[in-house]
C-alpha cells in the first residue's frame, strides 16, 4: 500500500515535471542525489522535498523576524528614537522574544466567527509567501525549484495571499475586519495588473519567464541598464504596485490603524496574528527579491568583480534586496496613507495607462535593438 502511494506521488511529480518543466535545480537536486544513495528514488524525491520545505520554513521565520527587527530599527531612526537594543547584541533577539511571547499567548477568537475559515485564513497567507520564497534565486545553486514559467508562477502565487486576508476579514465576524478585507480585495485585484504588466515589460527584454535565464541575460548588464528609460519606468511602477500588493504604507488601507483599528486581523491573536505579521514582512522581501532578480541582476556582482566565488552571490543578492527593502521602509515611515478611492484612481487612471504605453516603448526598443549592453 505504502509503495503504491509513493509510486502515485512520484507519478504526479513526474507529470508536473513534464507539464510545467519542473527542474529540481541546484540545492534540491543535490539533496535528492545525496538521499537517493540511501533509499529508493521515489522516497528520496519525497524526503528531499520535505527537507527543502523545512529549510525554507527556517529561512522564512528567521528572515521574517530579522526583517521585523530591521523595520523597527529603521523606524526608530526615522523617528528620532533608538529602537530595540536591549535583548541580545543591539536588540538582535528582540523579535525572537516577541515571537516567543506570541507563541505562548492564548488564541482567542470571536464567538460567532466561522471557525473553520477563521483558522484557515493565516495559512493561505503564509503558504503563498513560502511558495514564492522557493522561487527566489539567492545564487545559481540556491533556488528550490526553477520552472520555465517562473515570473508567471510568482504573480499567480502572490495573489493567493489575498484570499487569506479576505477569508480572515470575513470569517472574523467583525465589521472593521470586513471593511479591511474588502479594501484588500479591491486593492490587490487592481495592483496585480501593474505588477504583472511592469514585469511583462521586462520579459520583452529577456524573452524568457524562467528566473535562471532572466539572470543569465543580465551578464551583459543589469536589465535596468539594458532597458534604460522604459526599464526605469517599469521599476518605479513595480515598486509602487509592489508596495500596494504587500499592503504596506502608504497603501495600508487593509490595516489603516487610524481608521479601522487593526483592519482584517483585528480578531486574531497569538501565533495566528504572528503568521499574518510575518507574512507581511516576507512578502515585502519577496517584492524586493523579484525586483532584484528582474532589474538588478539577482546574484550577479557589479561588473563581475566576484564572478569566481559563486557563494558571494548570496551576499550580492541580499545586499541589493535589502536596499530595496529599505526603500519600502522609507516609504512607510514618511508618507501619509492614501484614501481608498485615491488608491484606485492612482492605479486605473495613472499607473495602468503609463504601463501600457511603457510596454509599447519597450517593444519598440527591443525591435530596434536600442538595448544598452556592457
Amino acid at each position: 500500500m505504502f509503495r503504491l502511494i509513493i509510486q502515485y506521488c512520484f507519478s504526479i511529480t513526474d507529470i508536473h515535471a513534464s507539464v510545467i518543466g519542473l527542474r529540481s535545480s541546484g540545492i534540491t537536486r543535490s539533496i535528492q542525489d545525496w538521499l537517493s544513495g540511501m533509499m529508493p528514488e521515489a522516497t528520496a524525491q519525497i524526503v528531499g522535498m520535505v527537507i527543502i520545505a523545512l529549510i525554507y520554513l527556517g529561512i522564512f521565520s528567521v528572515a521574517g523576524l530579522f526583517l521585523v527587527l530591521i523595520e523597527r530599527r529603521v523606524a526608530a531612526w526615522f523617528q528620532l528614537r533608538i529602537g530595540p537594543n536591549r535583548v541580545g547584541f543591539q536588540g538582535l533577539l528582540q523579535t525572537m522574544a516577541d515571537a516567543l511571547k506570541l507563541v505562548s499567548k492564548e488564541l482567542t477568537g470571536t464567538e460567532r466567527a466561522d471557525k473553520f475559515l477563521y483558522n484557515l485564513a493565516p495559512y493561505f497567507v503564509i503558504i503563498s509567501a513560502l511558495m514564492a520564497l522557493g522561487l527566489i534565486p539567492f545564487t545559481k545553486a540556491f533556488q528550490a525549484f526553477d520552472i520555465n514559467i517562473g515570473i508567471f508562477f510568482l504573480i499567480a502565487i502572490s495573489s493567493i495571499g489575498v484570499i487569506g486576508i479576505l477569508l480572515g476579514g470575513w470569517a472574523s465576524n467583525n465589521k472593521f475586519a470586513l471593511i479591511g478585507a474588502m479594501r484588500s480585495g479591491v486593492q490587490t485585484i487592481s495592483y496585480e495588473l501593474s505588477v504583472g504588466l511592469s514585469l511583462l515589460t521586462m520579459i520583452l527584454l529577456t524573452g524568457s519567464l524562467q528566473l535562471s535565464e532572466i539572470v543569465e541575460v543580465q551578464k551583459n548588464g543589469w536589465l535596468i541598464v539594458q532597458g534604460h528609460i522604459p526599464a526605469i519606468i517599469a521599476f518605479m511602477i513595480f515598486m509602487i504596485a509592489g508596495t500596494a500588493e504587500t499592503n504596506r504604507a502608504p497603501f495600508d488601507m487593509v490595516e489603516a490603524e487610524s481608521e479601522l483599528g487593526a483592519g482584517f486581523h483585528t480578531e486574531y491573536s497569538g501565533m495566528k496574528f504572528a503568521y499574518f505579521f510575518l507574512a507581511e514582512f516576507i512578502n515585502m522581501f519577496i517584492i524586493a527579491a523579484i525586483a532584484t532578480t528582474v532589474f538588478f541582476g539577482a546574484w550577479l556582482s557589479p561588473f563581475g568583480i566576484t564572478e569566481s566565488i559563486p557563494i558571494l552571490g548570496v551576499f550580492w543578492f541580499l545586499a541589493k534586496a535589502m536596499v530595496l527593502v529599505f526603500l519600502m521602509m522609507w516609504f512607510r515611515w514618511t508618507f501619509p496613507r492614501l484614501r481608498v478611492d485615491q488608491l484606485l484612481t492612482l492605479e486605473w487612471k495613472y499607473l495602468l495607462p503609463i504601463n501600457l504605453a511603457n510596454i509599447v516603448i519597450m517593444a519598440f526598443i527591443v525591435w530596434q535593438k536600442l538595448i544598452i549592453q556592457i
Binding site: 471593511i179 502608504p250 495600508d252 487610524s258 481608521e259 515611515w333 508618507f335 501619509p336 492614501l338 484614501r339
Partner: protein, 373 residues
C-alpha cells in the same frame, strides 16, 4: 423587470458601525455611531459621557482657589489657559489690580501652551492620515516646552501655575533663557514640519476639499478657534477682547477662507508662527515686580454674574460664574470650545469616506475631557 431584479440583488444596505469609545482616531473616549453605506458616511452621531466627571457641579462645592485646579482636567492640553480663564473671572469680579509682571508671564506661558498643544495636534494629525513619524517630531518640540514648564511650575501637563491674584510663585531664573532658546530652535523646526507633511502630495490630496465648513455654518454651529478661522470667520478672542498682556502685542489673526481640512491645518501652522512672535515681543520686556497680589484666604465674590472668555488652543473658552456672595459659586458654567466644534462634525463629514472622517476629526482637534467635562 430584469434590471429591477438585478438592482434588488445588488442593493446596498446601510449599516452601523461603532467608532469608539476605544478607537485610535477618536483620541480618547469619544464614541461615534456611524451609519455607513460601503465606505461612504451617511450619518455621524457622537455619543458623549464616557469621561463625564461633573466638573461644573464640583465647582459649586469648591472654593475659588480649588476651582482653578479642576479646570486643568478639562482641556488638558491648554491647562494653563483654562486656569487663567477662571483666575481672570475671579479677579475681574474682585476688581483686583494685577501686576504687569503677572500679566506678561501669563501671556508668555499661555502662548507656549498653545504651541505645545499645536505640536501635539500636528503629530497626531499626521498619524491620523497615516504618516506615523510626525508624532515623534511633534513630541520632540513639545517636550522642550514641557521641560520649561516643569522647571518653572513644577508640573508638565496640569500646571496649576495660576492662582486668583497672580501666579503661584515667580518664574525660574533659567526661564527667559530657555524660552529664547526654544523660540530659536522652533523657528527652524516649523519649516521641517512643512517639509515632512504640508508639502506632501498625498497629504494635500487627503485634506484639500475634505470636510468643508462654510463661514455661515461655522457661525451657526458656534464653532470657534482655528476651526472657525479656517472657514474665514474672524473670531480670535485675543484680538477682539484682549486679556492679560495681549493688548500690547501685535500679531496677525491666522485666517483661511477655504473651510476645508487643509485650511484648518494651515491656520494652526500659521498660529505657531504668531505665537512665536508674541513670545518674542514679550520675553525681553518682563517687568519687575510682585508675582502675586494678596487676596483673602477665603475669597468671596460679590453677588452677581461674571463672564470671561479666553482663547485656548482649541477656541473660545468661556467661564460664567453666578455668585450669591458666598465662598462658593452658586453656579459655574464652562463654554468649552470642543463641544461646539464637535457639533459641526456630522454636517461636514457626511458624504465622505471613512478616511475623510478621520482626517476631518483630526483637524477639529477634539480633546474629549473638554467636551464631557
Amino acid at each position: 423587470m430584469e434590471t429591477e431584479t438585478l438592482n434588488n440583488n445588488f442593493k446596498s444596505e446601510e449599516y452601523f458601525i461603532n467608532m469608539g469609545p476605544q478607537h485610535p482616531a477618536t483620541h480618547g473616549v469619544l464614541r461615534l455611531l456611524l451609519t455607513i453605506d460601503g465606505e461612504i458616511i451617511k450619518k455621524v452621531e457622537p455619543d458623549l459621557g464616557y469621561i463625564h466627571r461633573s466638573i461644573e457641579k464640583m465647582c459649586e462645592r469648591d472654593s475659588y482657589q480649588q476651582i482653578v485646579h479642576l479646570t486643568d482636567r478639562m482641556d488638558y492640553l491648554s491647562s494653563h489657559i483654562n486656569n487663567e480663564a477662571v483666575c481672570l473671572t475671579v479677579e475681574n469680579a474682585l476688581q483686583l489690580e494685577i501686576p504687569e509682571r503677572v500679566k506678561v508671564i501669563r501671556t508668555i506661558i499661555g502662548e507656549l501652551t498653545r504651541i505645545a498643544s499645536h505640536c501635539l495636534w500636528w503629530g497626531v494629525m499626521g498619524m491620523d492620515v497615516g504618516a506615523l513619524s510626525t508624532f515623534f517630531y511633534g513630541f520632540r518640540d513639545r517636550e522642550m516646552i514641557n521641560d520649561i514648564f516643569e522647571e518653572t511650575c513644577g508640573a508638565r501637563l496640569t500646571m496649576n501655575y495660576n492662582v486668583p491674584g497672580g501666579l503661584m510663585w515667580d518664574i525660574h531664573p533659567n526661564f527667559i533663557n530657555r524660552v529664547k532658546k526654544f523660540v530659536a530652535h522652533f523657528k527652524t523646526k516649523i519649516p521641517e514640519y512643512d517639509q515632512l507633511l504640508t508639502g506632501n502630495i498625498i497629504f494635500q490630496k487627503r485634506t484639500k476639499g475634505v470636510g468643508v465648513l462654510s463661514k455661515e455654518d461655522a457661525i451657526s454651529f458656534g464653532v470657534s478657534g482655528p476651526v472657525a478661522r479656517g472657514s474665514g470667520y474672524s473670531c480670535d478672542v485675543r484680538k477682539y477682547h484682549p486679556y492679560s498682556a495681549l493688548d500690547r502685542v501685535t500679531f496677525n489673526e491666522a485666517l483661511q477662507t477655504e473651510g476645508d481640512t487643509f485650511a484648518r491645518y494651515q491656520v494652526r501652522i500659521q498660529e505657531l508662527w504668531e505665537s512665536l512672535s508674541i513670545i518674542e515681543q514679550l520675553i525681553d520686556n518682563i517687568p519687575e515686580g510682585e508675582h502675586r497680589v494678596a487676596t483673602n484666604a477665603v475669597i468671596k465674590l460679590p453677588k452677581g454674574e461674571f463672564y470671561q472668555k479666553v482663547e485656548t488652543a482649541r477656541g473660545e473658552l468661556g467661564v460664567y460664574i453666578i455668585s450669591t456672595g458666598t465662598k462658593n459659586p452658586y453656579r459655574l458654567k464652562f463654554r468649552s470650545p470642543g463641544f461646539s466644534n464637535l457639533s459641526a462634525l456630522n454636517h461636514i463629514a457626511v458624504g465622505g469616506k471613512i478616511g475623510d472622517l478621520v482626517a476631518t476629526m483630526a483637524t477639529l482637534d477634539l480633546v474629549i475631557p473638554d467636551i464631557d467635562r
